[in-house]
């Protein structure tokens, strides 16, 4: 009886409190540029989500420590969604109401879900190194910015690298390349480009999907052992990567013949495997682990030394930390660029930030000045190209750390452009979008 009364009271008070918190959700907009941070610090992908989120938030703190963007301080709020699409959409709705002007969901699934919402809400969607590949075409995808690289760029460079090792693109004929991929939009993105390349060069493409979260890969690697592909491309995220490497070790597939996407090339992916992953190579989204770069030293000095660091100190400069940091940097630079046009020292709106991101021009001098010397190459976006750069390096795990290679690759512009335009025109037709003309772009 008492128990029941208690239960009822709990239920009633819960309902009351819900309405109380929900009403505070419509926050007053402060004189600060607000950055929503969608993170996954828990769940199956936390090991990889954490350093990214720490880097992202730390960079915002660093900008504040340096005086903000022309005096405008940056504020931020995290929202945990555990890599689940529906919770990610909830986070988006929640933080949107607080004055968000740029979103970076770090999930291809969430990106797909938000692509239709962004134009309605007038908030740009920055997906540095993930998301829809065809959203590079900014004349159709006004609000999507797959800055620095898409999965088609990754797939293209991966084939180029394999060809280079084999001694030329013509040597690919008759080879067998297996793609071990996370069975989600993320993992499926590279397939069209790989199929195109397979047709061009006459290699055989084996598609081997791995179900979320990727801890069960025995069958996949048995297939690899039977079919003996010449190379394996690993398109994994989170625990799937270390599992794949362990399975490769167990089945005796040479790690030197494995090449991972940039999301499969960070410390959490290989640390558990250690020496077993030696020789495994992965693409980089320009940067690798950069503990000696100037921006990292600034970070340690101006943020971590003051006890403001978000994560542990020894993580600063690691691959995913840098990825988060750079993602944050391009968004902040978008705001800075927008301020140049719409008024320095003002808080920008989503539409203004969109203009800033579309006219981003980070040349080597600017990047070096910000402390990204040796970390990044120039990025220049335009209306037709929302990606801005397609530079990729290859890094190799030597058993204890990632060693970046010296060669820089770029995606084959001709091949990529054709595929992007095809896909984006198809999307525009489906959604009845009229692509912007060059004249409209200038506005």
């Amino acid at each position: 009886m008492k128990f029941r009364a208690l239960a009822l009271a709990a239920a009633v008070s819960a309902v009351g409190l819900t309405s109380a918190t929900v009403s505070t959700a419509a926050f007053a907009q402060a004189k600060e540029q607000f950055f929503p941070v969608l993170v996954y610090r828990t769940g199956a992908y936390a090991a990889n989500g954490n350093p990214w989120a720490n880097g992202y938030v730390d960079y915002l703190k660093l900008v504040n420590a340096k005086g903000g963007v022309n005096g405008v301080k940056l504020s931020f709020e995290e929202c945990e969604f555990g890599y689940a699409t529906d919770r990610g959409v909830e986070c988006y709705e929640r933080l949107k109401g607080k004055g968000a002007t740029v979103f970076q969901p770090l999930s291809t699934g969430v990106t797909f879900a938000l692509t239709d919402k962004a134009p309605v809400d007038k908030i740009p969607l920055v997906t540095a190194g993930y998301g829809r590949s065809e959203s590079q075409d900014g004349s159709v995808f006004n609000w999507n910015f797959p800055l620095l690289g898409t999965y088609w760029v990754g797939a293209d460079v991966a084939i180029q690298h394999i060809a280079k090792q084999a001694g030329g693109l013509d040597k690919l004929k008759g080879k067998k390349i297996a793609l071990v991929y996370h069975d989600s939009p993320f993992g499926k993105e590279p397939i069209p480009l790989l199929q195109e390349r397979a047709k061009l060069h006459g290699f055989e493409l084996m598609l081997l999907p791995v179900a979320h979260p990727g801890v069960e890969q025995k069958a996949t690697w048995l297939q690899i052992r039977q079919a003996r592909p010449d190379n394996v491309l690993l398109w994994g995220w989170g625990v799937m990567n270390s599992t794949a490497l362990k399975e490769a070790q167990a089945t005796g597939f040479a790690r030197e013949k494995m090449l991972g996407i940039w999301w499969a090339g960070a410390e959490p992916d290989v640390k558990d495997v250690g020496a077993g992953a030696k020789g495994y190579a992965a693409l980089t989204l320009q940067h690798s682990a950069e503990p000696n770069s100037k921006v990292v030293k600034d970070m340690l000095e101006m943020v971590h030394a003051k006890g403001q660091g978000t994560g542990p100190k020894d993580e600063v400069g690691s691959v995913l930390y840098m990825r988060g940091l750079i993602s944050s940097m391009v968004a902040v630079e978008g705001v800075r660029k927008a301020q140049e046009r719409y008024g320095k020292g003002k808080v920008m709106t989503g539409e203004q930030v969109r203009w800033g991101l579309e006219n981003l021009n980070l040349d080597q001098k600017t990047l070096d000045g910000m402390g990204f010397a040796g970390v990044m190459r120039p990025v220049q976006t335009s209306c037709l190209d929302h990606m801005g750069s397609s530079w990729v390096r290859i890094q190799t795990w030597d058993g204890t750390k990632w060693v970046p290679g010296t060669d820089w690759y770029q995606a084959d512009e001709k091949l990529l452009r054709g595929m992007v335009l095809n896909a984006s025109r198809k999307y525009a037709e489906e959604k009845k979008i009229t692509p912007r003309t060059p004249e409209q772009c200038k506005q």
Binding site: L17, T21, V39, C79, G97
Partner: protein, 358 residues
């Protein structure tokens, strides 16, 4: 004092067979529906609509469907997520492959396809029951996950496997604002809830309950188990399928099979168990509990921490959310094994006897 049926005499059979025999109940429910239709669109903001109310309504509909099967007919299913997926993908295919297909037509055809799948996967229920049936329906889940990931035709050859729907409109009414989407879903829920309530009061519902309570006895008194069980699977899958189509079309807009994973099946089953098996109200209460409580905890805990001057990290909030949510489920199941709806029924009993409850 207020809640008492004294003086309400029923003089016709029709009056005796009303859904709500007590006037207060009737006015209360009508009041809630009127409030939901008229007042909520004016009061709620975009966040409320998009993140809370729309998912709540759609999952309530799905839970209602599951409740018809599990709560009323006693057939445990772990395939609800799969039937949602069938509804969503079938509706999508009807919409894009048939020119001029109206939105509601596509949604209902999605539901019908799902009903067909429900009958197919309900066939094992004629031989196996209980936990074994749960495992058999799990096959539906895995089969659909596989089919929508692998068979390109279902996703219209989309390279990423993700499909999307936009420009929803019904008879020239363009549904794009959150309030309109909410009203569209609400319309569906109200109609389907009335249908479900009436079904459970009619012959078919009584057959389901007889099967649930003791199938041998039901057979002896002349109920055909095959017809009763398969009709329960069909109706349940139809509801769940329409909910799945709404989930894809209205809530997500663009989705992949992961939106209807086995987690969704478990979530729906928990909704009806916590809300109350064999209760229409229970489906709504259970959906509210499972959908709203985690989001509420996620926002309430940092606010509480702020009040006490503590900063709780995002990860800690998320862990605490799971811990509290889990313990509340256990707590409610101990306090009231018959679900939250039962608490409401008890409250009504007490109100009748008030001020001398015993």
């Amino acid at each position: 004092m207020l809640y008492r049926e004294n003086g309400q005499f029923k003089t016709t059979y029709a009056a005796d067979q009303q859904i709500f025999t007590i006037a207060q109940d009737k006015w209360f429910v009508l009041g809630i529906v009127a409030f939901a239709f008229l007042a909520v669109p004016m009061l709620a903001d975009e966040y409320m609509f998009r993140a809370i109310l729309i998912p709540f309504l759609i999952l309530s509909l799905a839970a209602l469907g599951v409740n018809l099967l599990v709560g009323y007919c006693g057939q445990i299913t772990l395939g609800a997520g799969a039937f949602m997926a069938v509804g969503a993908y079938a509706a999508y295919n009807f919409l894009i492959r048939i020119d001029g297909m109206p939105l509601i037509g596509a949604l209902l055809l999605g539901g019908l396809t799902s009903a067909g799948m429900g009958i197919l996967f309900g066939i094992p229920s004629l031989r196996v029951r209980g936990l074994y049936l749960a495992v058999a329906t799990l096959a539906a889940q895995f089969f659909c996950d596989w089919a929508f990931l692998r068979i390109k035709w279902f996703t219209n050859d989309s390279s990423s496997g993700s499909v999307s729907v936009s420009d929803l409109s019904v008879f020239g009414w363009v549904i794009d604002s959150p309030a309109e989407k909410y009203l569209f879903c609400l319309g569906f829920i109200v109609v389907f809830a009335v249908i479900a309530k009436n079904m459970t009061r009619a012959t078919i519902g009584r057959q389901w309950m007889a099967i649930r309570d003791m199938d041998v006895a039901a057979e002896v008194i002349g109920i055909r188990p095959m017809y009763a069980k398969l009709s329960a699977f069909a109706v349940s899958s139809f509801f769940v399928g329409v909910a799945g189509a709404l989930w894809g079309f209205v809530h997500l807009g663009s989705w992949e099979p992961a939106a209807f994973s086995v987690d969704r099946s478990f979530q729906l089953l928990f909704m009806v168990i916590i809300g109350g098996l064999g209760s229409i109200l229970g489906s709504f209460v259970g959906a509210a509990f499972i959908v709203i409580l985690p989001i509420f905890l996620n926002q309430f805990l940092p606010a509480l921490g702020g009040l006490l001057g503590l900063h709780i990290s995002t990860a800690a909030v998320s862990h605490a959310e799971l811990i509290i949510f889990g313990s509340l489920i256990v707590f409610f199941l101990i306090v009231e094994p018959h679900g939250l709806a039962r608490l409401w029924a008890i409250a009504k009993e007490k109100l009748r006897l008030w001020p001398f409850p015993h």
